[in-house]
């Protein structure tokens, strides 16, 4: 968060340092496209109905792996987006820091909880 800490000579933003983050945002955003299309298509094709159908679907390796990838990429992407919104519209420094921290910890925590659920299903599910 170079723009927030003001570590550039004139405190005018992350001069020459924003490129990597800009590119990462695009890469993770673009990666979301095949992952969400897979999720939608996979569920529409499998058409699970009962609890056991869903467990079978989620615990199959061909589904568990992209599910874990989806959770990791999705929360990284959400973190990028929410961080930018906090940066742009929350001006009070303490609120900005607090919200940025909550967004980061929330995204990491939720990704971990989601991945744990899929791993439990993949290892013990069926």
């Amino acid at each position: 968060m170079a723009g927030m800490t003001g570590n550039t000579p004139r405190n005018l933003g992350p001069a020459r340092k924003g490129g990597a983050e800009w590119l990462a945002q695009r890469i993770f955003g673009a990666a979301m496209v095949p992952l969400v299309i897979w999720l939608l298509a996979s569920l529409l094709i499998a058409r699970p109905d009962a609890f056991q159908d869903y467990v079978l679907w989620a615990s199959a390796g061909v589904n568990a792996l992209p599910l874990i990838l989806l959770l990791a990429v999705m929360f990284h992407h959400a973190h990028h987006g929410l961080k930018d919104i906090v940066r742009d519209y929350v001006h009070q420094p303490f609120c900005k820091l607090l919200l940025a921290a909550l967004v980061k910890l929330g995204c990491f925590g939720l990704a971990a909880v989601g991945i744990l659920a899929v791993m439990r299903l993949a290892i013990w599910g069926s």
Partner: protein, 126 residues
């Protein structure tokens, strides 16, 4: 440190209303909404991993009339954010940056989102 004098993002109130502005706000708004949808996905996966009783509770909530309404809202937000995200990637390549291209692609993203949402729920309903 004169962090108070740093240039801020443009505030919403200083502009005349425009289509491109509305689509930009909608992209961020749907992004925030979909972050909540991501939380719901984690809750759903955790319930699935926890067992039939927990899963039945979550499914009953999701399949209630209010739950279906929320899910339709999420699919509409999802398709808009997906199509408008692709529009952003096209912009990054340097295309559609003129006023006409920006407006038309925005209309296409919004119209496409309504169309895809309708098609998906018709398909689910069949």
């Amino acid at each position: 440190m004169d962090s108070g004098k740093r240039p801020l993002s443009p505030h919403l109130g200083v502009y005349r209303w425009q289509w491109t502005m509305a689509y930009s706000i909608l992209h961020r708004f749907t992004g925030i909404a979909l972050s909540l949808g991501a939380v719901l996905l984690v809750v759903w996966l955790t319930a699935l991993a926890a067992g039939p009783a927990a899963f039945a509770t979550v499914q009953a909530l999701l399949l209630s009339p209010f739950g279906i309404l929320v899910m339709i809202g999420f699919t509409l937000a999802f398709f808009y954010h997906l199509l408008n995200g692709l529009r952003h990637l096209v912009w990054d390549s340097g295309c559609w940056l003129d006023l006409r291209g920006a407006e038309r692609s925005g209309h296409a993203a919004a119209g496409g989102a309504v169309l895809l949402t309708a098609l998906l729920w018709l398909f689910i309903g069949l």
